[in-house]
Amino acid sequence: MFGKLTWQAIPWDQPIPLVAGSVVVLIVLAVLAWVVIKGYLPYLWREWITSVDHKRIGVMYTLLGAVMLLRGFIDAIMMRSQQAAAFRAAGYLPPEHYDQIFSAHGTIMIFFAAMPIVIGLMNFAVPLQLGVRDVAFPTLNSTSFWLTATGALLVNISLVIGEFARTGWLVYPPLSGLPYSPGVGVDYYLWALLISGVGTLMTGINFVTTILKIRAPGMSYLRMTIFCWTALAANLLIVAAFPILTATLAMLALDRYLDFHFFTNEAGGNMMMFINLIWAWGHPEVYILVLPAFGIFSEVISTFSGKPLFNYRSMVAATMFICLVSYMVWLHHFFTMGAGGNVNAFFGISTSIIAVGTGVKIYNWLFTMYGGRIRFATPMLWSMGFLVTFVIGGMTGVLLAVPPADFLLHNSLFLVAHFHNVIIGGVLFAAFAGITYWFPKAFGFKLDEGWGKIAFWLSLIGFYVVFMPLYVAGLLGMTRRLQHYDVAAWRPWVLVAGIGIIIMICAAACQVVQFVVSIRRRDELRDETGDPWDGRSLEWATASPPPPFNFAVLPDVRGEEPYWEIKRRAIETQQLSAEPKYEPIEMPRNSPTGFITAFFCTMTGFALIWHIWWMVGLGIVAAYAVFVWFAWRDVTEYSIPAEEVARFDRARRQAREQWLAQHAGQPA
């Protein structure tokens, strides 16, 4: 009846996951109870869960990412403390648990923390910056989000029911094959990523379509913000790369479930094919994350320097250059598999060529600051921290692209330090910069600057204290994923990294405090103008938070920095543009399709993991039925009357009149 699922699946004998899991379950139940008792459930269902509004979906993505970031961070704390304790000792985590933790850390951080935050920020900002009302396929967007949530849920269920993969975050066969991993861990990994991967692919299709086909009048390609350009590049990469991931993991699933031999040791399979395929996805994935991060920094640095981005076209070229070349470098992840001099040299050189594009970007940001009038608000501090940190991470990255150096450093803590250097210094700092930057747009009040700055400085210092020692440990030969070790020379460095993680804990606490304090002080931090940072692109041309339809009338774009130009014109002429003629606006209706589909996909995934075949059939049929039901709908849109549009826009114009009065004396 329930396949492999019995009471033994719950780790009764392991206090750490049991207690952690129970606490999580209790918190979730408490939140649910609070929501139900307070009567928020109908509101949540109507305004959020079934919402197809790109801004709401963006916020939910970012929230999911932030919660998973915390989960992944707890894994990181456990790893660092285990290694600090496990010198000539067993530490407190047995190997079968420690191996799950580092596998879950990588999986969660990449797929369920970094990706949702990046996609969330794209969701929120791209349509606003393009000056349009929504993405191309709003209901698909909602479905993408809920499928990502399905993946995150499955990974977290593995904490209390069964186990997670013990193979590392990229489940290399043969280790991930049935003979060496007979447990359910790898299955959790496979189905979580197969289901959420479909969601990500749909996001990619959605955003490529949106950016290519739906832009405000006058918004030509070379008037789009760099964030839109990087979003385009990242989503093109998603569309091209995620099918490879899905196909690769599907082949591994066939190996495990139906005794296929794609990657086995016998019957003609070859595990090297898996490693090639997974990195053919995996390296573009790095740029899927970091290109939008570059976009965020471009917005922030330009806004807070009070200058347009330096060499805009060069920036566009560098973005698309990186997008293209990122496909030709995957082999640098396994120089030590013995491919030979020619192959290694080719991929080493192509990898270092990417540094040209990145270098160009760094210099363009540098010259954006040159001659600027830089305000060091929290988003700008994150950007400065990024610039310095990323240059160092880029250097160690190019170093690892030199095959003979990689022969010494591959899989060492030097490598671990390198990719954390670029992912924390690049993607995570961008996430915090982007969240602080767009938070007032999303919620109508700014985040508390004091706590934000403390969080920044602690994160920056904590990062260096954790990862610089790991560079040294790697140079001392320490390989990654060690549950315990006996080499005395490594110990001091591992201990310093352990101290660094304490600083990081303080930084994370400050982040949380920042949100709590800001929400409590929201009336003082209120932004009435819709333009709290003196912004330059179109998202600042509407109210904070924007109405469901974003803009009362679609903006007329005449240059690279449309909102900056609108503001200059207003100051020059000392009046706002004439009040437009308001018309009713058609917006897509909310739909529970995404949520219900994801519910049945979760059921299917769980059933596949535990071999509950009847539930697999039920889940697939039901998920498809939801799609059919959605496809048969008659009414797809609702209309917002012109009066309501006018009421909203007049209120906004009033705020802008006040702003104009304050800037009356300012020269254009």
Binding site: P174, S181, V184, F334, M337, L399, G477
Partner: protein
């Protein structure tokens, strides 16, 4: 930059083995990198990859340091410029000129594309030559015939077979100092990575495939070796000692090994095959000459994974301790 691209040095005559310490001879191209180099030097004298004890490791480390040097030439000024521009153009600095119209410069564009391109072209040369010179499959040129060692990674221990001497050892590897060693490597189960940090290049071991590696130790010593590819629950104990011994010491070691221990035939191999971790080093007195090839071409099946008979073993298999 003196020294140029690292190449594999010819091994000196084994009787007068000269210690090669690339760090001490290495010319540092950039003074501003002193702090970083100091850090590297700290790690250089305590058994890491920069404390190379053989020609391959020395050449790898030399390329590593050269590449760092080449990149520091632009990285350090860039970081200084970032901090300097940020500081000088702060909004509160009234002496800094606000130039919002400074958004394009053809000259700067040429420089920002040009300098990284030139650096990467230079580095590309280093990569091309280094990849070929230090390809792990490439033999070390030496007047001495290399010692042959066949390596089999097992869950979770290392089996070293000496085909010419007819002995084998587990988790202990003795080689004559000053003479190249030719490793042929495979795996009996999952993928691992053979790595002796102080001797240089690592290489993967994979079931059904043979990789090659050439290393040498300059002088006698004991070197830590490990797997550098996570391979399962017993991975952390999958390390070994590489003992580089003088030539007569090696002959002695072989003689001792021949007199003690059991015989490694297919039966005892299947026993060794079972998953086990933290295995103390031991030797086999004789070895089936066809064993390595039998593992490679799958005449001997891949070693088994965890036992799946017990309750819950297909849900959460446990390492037996």
């Amino acid at each position: 930059m003196r020294g140029g691209v690292g190449t594999v040095k010819q091994l000196p005559d084994s009787r007068s083995a000269v210690v090669t310490r690339p760090l001490q001879r290495h010319a540092v191209p950039c003074r501003m990198s002193a702090a970083l180099i100091a850090l590297l030097s700290v790690s250089g004298c305590s058994g890491g990859v920069l404390d190379a004890q053989g020609p391959i490791g020395a050449a790898d480390a030399k390329i590593l340091l050269n590449a760092v040097g080449i990149m520091l030439v632009i990285v350090v000024p860039t970081i200084i410029a970032i901090l300097a521009f940020g500081w000088w153009f702060r909004a509160s600095n009234t002496r800094a000129r606000y130039r919002p119209e400074f958004v394009y410069s053809g000259g700067i564009e040429v420089v920002v594309w040009g300098i990284p391109t030139l650096v990467i072209m230079f580095l590309g040369g280093v990569i091309w030559i280094g990849s070929h010179d230090l390809d792990p499959f490439k033999p070390i040129s030496s007047p001495d015939k290399p010692t042959e060692v066949q390596v089999v990674s097992l869950d979770w221990k290392w089996l070293f077979i000496y085909p010419d001497q007819g002995v084998a050892s587990v988790n202990e590897l003795a080689v004559p100092a000053g003479i190249p060693v030719h490793f042929s490597l495979t795996s009996a189960s999952v993928m691992n990575m053979f790595f002796v940090p102080q001797l240089g290049s690592m290489i993967a071991t994979m079931n059904g495939m043979v990789t090659q590696l050439h290393l040498a130790a300059d002088k006698p010593g004991e070197f830590y070796g490990q797997s550098a590819q996570f391979s399962g629950d017993g991975f952390s104990d999958m390390n070994f000692i590489l003992r580089a011994v003088p030539q007569d010491g090696f002959a002695q070691w072989i003689a001792t090994a021949r007199q003690s221990g059991s015989a490694l035939d297919r039966t005892s191999y299947l026993a060794l095959c079972q998953q086990s971790s933290n295995v103390r080093p031991f030797t086999y007195r004789t070895v089936d000459a066809s064993l390595f090839n039998a593992v490679v071409n799958q005449q001997l099946p891949p070693c088994p994974g965890p036992n799946i008979e017990g309750p819950g073993a297909t849900v959460r298999p446990r390492l037996e301790r």
